[in-house]
């Protein structure tokens, strides 16, 4: 039988059947509008309240600090706007990192056009932001530091708690994009010292199109989407009740299995990383060797291009991802890989494999059996690969 091994869980996860089961009644049985005063509406409102409590409990927050959104991108954009609330943008400074998700980077670039000053902190070769660099970049008018909890491409975990500690007694707000971290590592807003945190349900076996923003109590919130009085007048639009219910259930399930599942995935991850290193020469492990998401494997393979690698794996039933330019339709390879200091050629040969609940040791063995032949075949086709030298030197 043709293999079909999904190893792109950082892109999205399937909706867990227990989550789906929880959601289904909210489409056609308990379909009321939570804003309606009647019983049908009240039932829906109750479900939203339950989900809010579930999300809050998962990150050690209070329910009234959770605002549902349409996903991670909206949460990130909103967090930036909240940090600027009531301030003159031309006198505001934001600190972020060079490897943030585009939901932060492109939104920051937009704010620059509107007059804000933005510092994009560099990262080390493993993709880590230095805590000292945050301290050094702070200015009296720094309104926000936004650093992701875990990078979506290379899986590196950022020193969020340490950054939180240095910002603790400062007026500067601290936001983290925890879209990849949620459900993968423990997330605790008190322990981390964050003021705002973004998450997205479809990264932890919940549905697409729903996310949340945590905003610490006491912070002045400006609306990003204007209209009705939903989300305590801060986020207009009829609630995505089935999605919100699904997010609540998904986050609860993720919490229950977190320590066991992250240990299992870490073992599989390291087997895959070590197996690839043993089998294939001239590669680079991207991201931190240990301070990384339990499900993330990311390599650059010299002399070959990532999209060709991805399509070849796909033909063998392995669904992975690449940060090469060709996969994004852009001219440059991923900004994350370039921020690590990689040259364009190396960055073009990137491959991301992200494991999930359904991943087994057999799947890892199959990748380890399949990948070396594909890399070899593409290298034999590449004018950059010097066969006479046994592929040991660059042409």
């Amino acid at each position: 039988m043709m293999k079909d091994i999904y190893l792109d869980h950082a892109a999205t996860t399937y909706t867990d059947r227990r989550v789906l089961k929880e959601m289904l009644p909210y489409f056609n049985e308990i379909y009321g509008n939570p804003s309606s005063l009647h019983e049908t509406g009240r039932k829906a409102a109750k479900a939203v309240a339950t989900a809010r409590a579930q999300v809050a409990a998962a990150i050690n927050a209070k329910p009234e600090e959770i605002y549902f959104t349409a996903g991670g991108t909206e949460s990130d954009n909103w967090a930036l706007r909240i940090a600027l609330a009531g301030k003159d943008k031309k006198d505001c400074h934001i600190i972020t990192s060079a490897i943030e998700h585009h939901a932060i980077l492109h939104a920051c670039q937009q704010l620059e056009k509107e007059g804000c000053a933005v510092t994009y902190l560099p990262v080390d070769e493993y993709g880590r932001v230095s805590v000292d660099s945050v301290s050094q970049a702070l200015k009296p008018n720094t309104v926000l530091v936004s650093i992701m909890a875990a990078n979506n491409e290379i899986g590196t975990l950022e020193p969020i708690r340490e950054i939180g500690a240095i910002l603790k007694d400062k007026p500067t707000l601290f936001h983290t994009d925890a879209v990849q971290a949620m459900g993968a590592v423990p997330v605790n807003v008190e322990d981390w010292g964050v003021d705002m945190l973004s998450m997205s349900a479809h990264k932890f076996y919940g549905p697409k199109g729903v996310g949340a923003l945590y905003v610490r109590k006491g912070i002045k919130i400006v609306s990003f989407i204007h209209g009705g009085a939903q989300e305590r007048r801060h986020r207009a639009g009829t609630e995505n009740v089935p999605g919100i219910v699904g997010m609540g259930k998904a986050i609860e399930l993720a919490q229950e299995s977190l320590s066991e599942e992250s240990a299992r995935l870490t073992t599989l991850r390291d087997k895959l990383i070590n197996g690839i290193i043993e089998r294939i020469p001239e590669i680079r492990l991207d991201g931190h060797p240990t301070e990384r998401l339990p499900n993330n494997v990311h390599f650059c393979f010299k002399y070959i291009e990532g999209e060709a690698l991805l399509l070849s794996l796909d033909a063998e039933g392995i669904r992975a991802s690449s940060g090469s330019a060709c996969t994004s339709g852009a001219l440059d390879p991923s900004h994350v890989l370039l921020a690590l200091g990689l040259d364009h050629g190396t960055a073009h040969g990137s491959l991301r494999i992200t494991l999930g609940h359904v991943t087994t040791e057999d799947d890892i063995d199959y990748v380890l059996d399949t990948l070396p032949g594909i890399v070899e075949r593409l290298r034999m086709m590449s004018p950059l690969f010097n066969q006479q030298e046994g592929g040991k030197t660059l042409v």
Binding site: A308, S324, A325, C326, L331, H348, M381, S382
Partner: protein, 123 residues
């Protein structure tokens, strides 16, 4: 996103390799942009007796190289010079807009190899 023809030429590329006694070699593209094509020609009596390629690049780049070599194999140099990226694209049953440059690169690689042949021949 890719046509069946592109996938066929990507997965089973024709004419991959080098020609040890090639008399026309052309290389275009660069590592920075993620595509390099190298074409080897063996030309006798103004006819393309053999053609091989090596490509660093995405699926469309490999498929374009493969198709371009197929289209000029056995043709006269004059005919080969008339190869356009459009012809490569048509033979591949289309390419996504962001991949059109791959077919352009294939046309350029063939022309560069023929240029090299002419220079070697002192023309």
């Amino acid at each position: 996103m890719y046509s069946d023809k592109v996938m066929d030429h990507f997965r089973n590329p024709r004419n991959v390799g080098e020609i040890p006694d090639a008399n026309g070699i052309g290389q275009v593209g660069n590592e920075k942009c993620g595509d390099i094509m190298k074409i080897y020609l063996k030309i006798e009596d103004d006819m393309i007796k053999d053609v091989k390629f090596k490509t660093f690049g995405c699926g469309a780049a490999i498929a374009s190289s493969s198709m371009a070599t197929e289209l000029i194999k056995g043709k006269s140099v004059e005919e080969a010079l008339k190869l356009t990226n459009k012809a490569v694209m048509e033979a591949l049953e289309g390419l996504p807009p962001v991949k059109i440059h791959c077919s352009v690169l294939a046309e350029e690689a063939i022309k560069a190899a023929i240029d090299d042949y002419h220079q070697r021949a002192g023309q």
